[in-house]
């Protein structure tokens, strides 16, 4: 049996447990070495997974060798493999940045970081809806620890909102699961898809209610319009390395929506077919508009970046709810791009904040900044990329997306996306001008604070991903095209799952 699909969960889980044991007795350097060893193993596993999924299309792994209808299955398709690789690639610079010093100040940082990765990877790989809930919880519990460790004052307040909001969302998730299990008698997503398509009419109403609750939960995690209020404050208050890792957390909600509403409530779901997209399209567009206004109006650089995360989530909602292969493919490309670039902006904002001393990252008092050349240059590259200006990856993602908007909705979607890009450019040029340009020519008496090489290296690495995605746009888009086509082909999932039998265990009577 091929055990590869379970490794992205096992490797960080074991590393995290090991780090928890190590941190009592050993110095930070030993912990860092083990954290990096775990990270390297993770990278090897993610790349192997991506290669293998291209060869075999769909990997099904039965945990404990239980038959699919009884036990938990892991399903790896192109989308899952892409998400796992994106997470790993993002985690490497985050760990690099944290190892420059933050990890000494935050209690249990390395262990929590690995647990967070285990939760994220598990959520991307699992084929079982209840298991998805469990991995959401693993990821969230680790994120509470990362956000709150060593927190004081305003960060505790933001943390309280974040924790309560997410617990309430988890409770609603459980209610939806209870309803759906009561109606369908299974929690395996693929099996549920088959049963929804064959559901008797008197059950459709409650299934519909369950689907609606589920949509509400995922939208809350992904920060859609009325449910995003927790995000800017929590992300802006989180430590830089943690905020950078959190950029992938909203994408988990988006991934779950894409997975559940193409597989379970896709074309084949009879009266419940495509129920999510009509709601998500206008809500996504409204999120884009509000987030763009937030970018312009933000008083601090990090709040502006948090709104940029929101903006990318809104763009992805629009892309996914168009529900045609081209738009989904463009969305997946844009997803990876926006994760990397917004993470680099969070790290940069932290570097800038320390350069400016007591003025922090507030845009309004225009303060001098020693050694501004390097941060300014990096900010320019990141801003060009996130705003979607040519030649960087944001431009390719948005171009592909605009290209795959159907004729009938062309006018207003183009207007929203292009308008929001313009507002992003205005907002970021305003920030850039205030931070780097309109400042005293004479250097202030304060000496430049140390910016460690690893920190600049982390930002450079994140921006390099974006540039690599631009150079290799052809192969990446071919891959996302295949992922989108695979996602919409629900029958293959159902058949592959039903053909997968336990290998050691006797088939049940």
């Amino acid at each position: 049996m091929n055990h590869l699909p379970v490794l992205p969960v096992l490797v960080p889980l074991v590393t995290g447990a090991l780090l928890l044991l190590l941190e009592r007795r050993h110095r930070m350097s030993i912990q860092r070495i083990w954290a990096w060893l775990g990270m390297l193993a993770m990278l090897a596993v993610s790349v192997t997974l991506l290669v293998q999924v291209q060869r075999e299309d769909l990997l099904v792994y039965l945990l404990g060798d239980w038959p699919a209808k009884l036990g938990i299955t892991l399903m790896v398709d192109r989308l899952s493999a892409l998400m796992v690789l994106t997470t790993t690639l993002l985690a490497i610079p985050c760990l690099m940045y944290a190892c420059a010093g933050w990890d000494k100040r935050a209690l249990h940082f390395h262990a929590l970081f690995q647990m967070q990765l285990a939760g994220l990877n598990g959520a991307f790989l699992t084929g079982d809806l209840f298991n998805l809930f469990v991995f959401f919880e693993v990821m969230l519990i680790a994120s509470y620890g990362l956000l709150l460790s060593g927190a004081r004052g305003a960060r505790i307040k933001a943390g309280m909102h974040y924790v309560v909001f997410n617990i309430a969302a988890s409770v609603v998730f459980l209610m939806a699961l209870g309803l759906l299990y009561g109606m369908l008698g299974t929690l395996n997503m693929t099996e549920m898809a088959a049963r929804i398509a064959a559901a008797p009419p008197e059950r459709t109403m409650l299934i519909h209610a369950g689907a609606g609750l589920l949509l509400l939960v995922f939208c809350a995690k992904a920060a859609l319009l009325p449910l995003y209020l927790w995000l800017p404050e929590a992300y802006a208050r989180a430590p830089a390395a943690v905020a950078a890792l959190f950029t992938v957390m909203t994408k988990v909600g988006l991934y779950a929506i894409l997975r559940v509403y193409t597989l379970m409530f896709g074309e084949a779901a009879g009266p419940l077919a495509n129920l999510a997209w009509d709601w998500l399209l206008p809500a996504g567009a409204a999120t884009i508009v509000l987030a763009a206004l937030g970018v312009i109006g933000a008083p601090r650089l990090r709040i502006a970046v948090a709104y940029l995360v929101l903006l990318s989530a809104g763009t992805l909602f629009v892309a996914f709810s168009l529900a045609n292969p081209g738009a989904i493919s463009a969305g997946l490309y844009y997803l990876a791009h926006s994760v990397f670039v917004s993470a680099s902006l969070f790290l940069l904002a932290d570097i800038i904040q320390r350069h400016r001393g007591s003025n922090g990252d507030y845009l309004m008092p225009i303060a001098s900044m020693p050694n501004k050349t390097l941060p300014a240059a990096l900010f320019l590259v990141a801003a060009v990329s996130i705003a979607g200006l040519p030649p960087l990856s944001g431009f390719i993602g948005k171009l592909q997306l605009l290209n795959s908007v159907p004729e009938s909705q062309l006018a207003w979607i183009w207007a929203v996306i292009l308008g929001s890009s313009l507002m992003t450019i205005i907002g970021l040029s305003r920030s850039g001008t205030r931070l780097f340009w309109r400042i005293d020519a004479s250097p202030s008496d304060a000496e430049a604070p140390p910016v460690r090489r690893a920190e600049i290296g982390a930002v450079l690495l994140l921006l390099a991903y974006g540039i690599a995605m631009t150079v290799a746009a052809g192969p990446v888009l071919r891959y996302t095209n295949a992922a989108a086509a695979q996602l919409l082909d629900v029958d293959t999932y159902i058949q592959t799952l039903r053909q997968t039998d336990p290998q050691i265990r006797e088939p049940s009577p």
Binding site: A151, V163, V164
Partner: protein, 121 residues
């Protein structure tokens, strides 16, 4: 019986939501707890429990759902209870830390200005 369980879930959920929307951290934590009780009962009821049919296999009884309750929702409830319990502990710790740091139990970390809101609440 259905009516009793359904109304119990409804009352718990309604009280939970009411408390969740209040402005003091203690009320919010109680609200989350009540809401999770409601959810646990809902999942339990989703397994259609029947009196006299325990989910334990017995000799000489055909192994179909006609003779047994569905054991899966009970396992799910167990997971949900554990997670809700842990989460309550986390919220209590965060709330206590917030109280110690900001000297208030208001969820926004500061007492609302009564005059600005037209007095009283």
């Amino acid at each position: 019986m259905e009516f009793a369980i359904a109304s119990a879930i409804g009352v718990l959920a309604a009280s939970g939501i009411y408390l969740l929307l209040r402005a003091r951290t203690f009320d919010v934590i109680l609200g989350l707890t009540l809401l999770s009780y409601a959810t646990n009962l809902l999942i339990f009821a989703a397994g259609r429990p029947v009196v006299g049919k325990p989910p334990v296999l017995r000799d000489g009884v055909a192994q179909t759902l006609a003779n047994y309750s569905d054991p899966l929702p009970q396992a799910l409830v167990l997971t949900a209870i554990v997670i809700a319990f842990a989460m309550t502990a986390v919220t209590v710790v965060v709330a206590m830390r917030e109280h110690a740091d900001l000297h208030t139990d208001h969820v926004d970390g500061e007492e609302p200005d009564d005059d600005a809101r037209g007095g009283g609440r």
